[in-house]
Symmetry: C2
Subunit: 294 residues, 2 copies
């Protein structure tokens, strides 16, 4: 057991990402002890049943006691109160990381509560499904996906290496990035697509009842994909939009301008404009397939 890189890992929140990470920690025998913390008793009971932890508690401060690795995996709005709560209980030399989708917000809410001698490495494993909760996780979730770490100036290189190695063990390709840049890239690749999917599915729910039932019945390729995206966790996504407001609004503005131009092209029957755009977008898909992301 002395070979485990971590003696005690505290997982704060045990949703899709942290429960998948727990399964990785088990598979790779990376932790002598896993402690899970959740807000509800039912959740930690379920985590125990799934053998995702050796100990469980409703109290974040109790969870992090003696932990050499703490992983925040809650919605972003819980970061600040949790960070304030655990601040005094973190052991010297401990590493705190997170899995949230907005890095500037994570740093803003967590960093002030990190005491001297404890290392905070903001992180974002870019993988997921529309499902949530401890039952939704699986160890293979991270395979061949990117993990973006956004260390701040003065970050301890040893702690950074440890977190990199953690996600590499989960099968991820790890890169570092400036937090602001991360938030901009994710705004267009992830946050805006989710916002749009939520919107169009919302538009469909507002249709007259007869039309709505047929929309559900005949949901073709496009719409069905959107409903899957729009089934993602409501609280998690509310927090992402509230915390990455500027970047999302910037990308949304660009999108809206482009959509208006396309709307105009349809209204005026400008077929060549449509065909030109649709040909350009096909090329982007090829780039992504070539980048082995598809």
């Amino acid at each position: 057991m002395t070979d485990s890189p971590f003696s005690r890992v505290a997982l704060i929140g045990i949703g899709l990402i942290n429960s998948s990470l727990a399964r990785v920690l088990r598979r790779e025998s990376m932790a002598q002890e896993i402690v899970v913390c959740a807000r509800q008793q039912a959740t930690i009971d379920r985590a125990r049943e799934l053998n995702l932890c050796d100990a469980a508690t409703l109290d974040p401060a109790a969870a992090v006691e003696g932990a050499d690795l703490v992983v925040l995996g809650t919605p972003l709005s819980a970061y600040r109160p949790i960070a304030e709560r655990i601040s005094g209980a973190l052991k010297s030399g401990a590493i705190v990381t997170d899995v949230g989708s907005v890095k500037q917000g994570a740093i803003r809410d967590v960093a002030p509560s990190i005491p001297p001698g404890v290392h905070f490495i903001p992180g974002h494993p870019v993988s997921g499904t529309e499902r949530s909760g401890p039952d939704a996780g699986f160890a293979e979730l991270f395979n061949d996906r990117w993990c973006i770490l956004t260390p701040t100036p003065g970050t301890d290189p040893g702690a950074l290496s440890t977190v990199m190695a953690l996600w590499q063990s989960a099968g991820m390709r790890v890169v570092t990035m400036d937090p602001e840049h991360h938030d901009l890239v994710l705004a267009i690749t992830s946050h805006l697509p989710h916002l749009i999917a939520y919107t169009i599915v919302g538009t469909a729910t507002d249709l007259e009842d007869t039309l709505k039932s047929e929309v559900i019945k005949f949901s073709a390729g496009g719409f069905r994909d959107f409903t899957r995206i729009a089934a993602s966790d409501p609280v998690m996504w509310r927090d992402i939009f509230l915390n990455n407001r500027e970047a999302v609004l910037e990308m949304l503005q660009r999108f809206s301008e482009d959509l208006t131009a396309l709307q105009r092209a349809i209204r005026w029957g400008e077929g060549q404009k449509l065909e030109d755009l649709f040909t350009r977008t096909r090329a982007i898909r090829r780039s992504i397939v070539e980048a082995h992301q598809a």
Copy 2:
């Protein structure tokens, strides 16, 4: 061979849908002879190599001669010239059907060229992938999907039954619908999602080069799904938007209003509004899963 329901089937266009249908006709031994017509010699050569046809021609009129079933499977903009071209060559009692995504446009462009004694049954097998061309087809494409037929007043019941049976043999569930209603339902389930996917992928292609390369590299769940949709055939989709203009613009207007409301909620930090919408959309996904469409 006398058991084949069709002695001669003419497939006008041999893209994803018609080449999949050809494979079904082969599998089910439904046609004594399949004739393929395409605009380019290379396409009909390929159709022959793939054993999708017994005869092939570049001339639609030659293709339909003696055919008891003619299936239009080209982009919508080719419907009118093809219909005018084949009009005099159709044999008495022949059935003409199509697979296009806009039914009012199909009726407008084809019906005037259908001579007395020939039956036109507008149809739409609601299935597809983002791929196109004769190599992209496969017989299972239609399995358990809906096929919507939009017969007009006075349609021959026997001809309608024949086309229904054709798509049922392909594994589809067949319903009939008013053409106008079809176009409205598809505007929201298929056309608007494609328009939005094209737009957001276009927005991404206009980003500064460094940002764009990272968008490709880190394309997360949402964006990657959109690029797949936005890789669909440019000419086919140009024609869909031009031919279903009114319904698409109506749904786009509703979508834009909803998106503006959401944009405002993000700007003003109205978390409850966001969470409420995201909770509603999750329920729609459940309805679709329950409707066995997922």
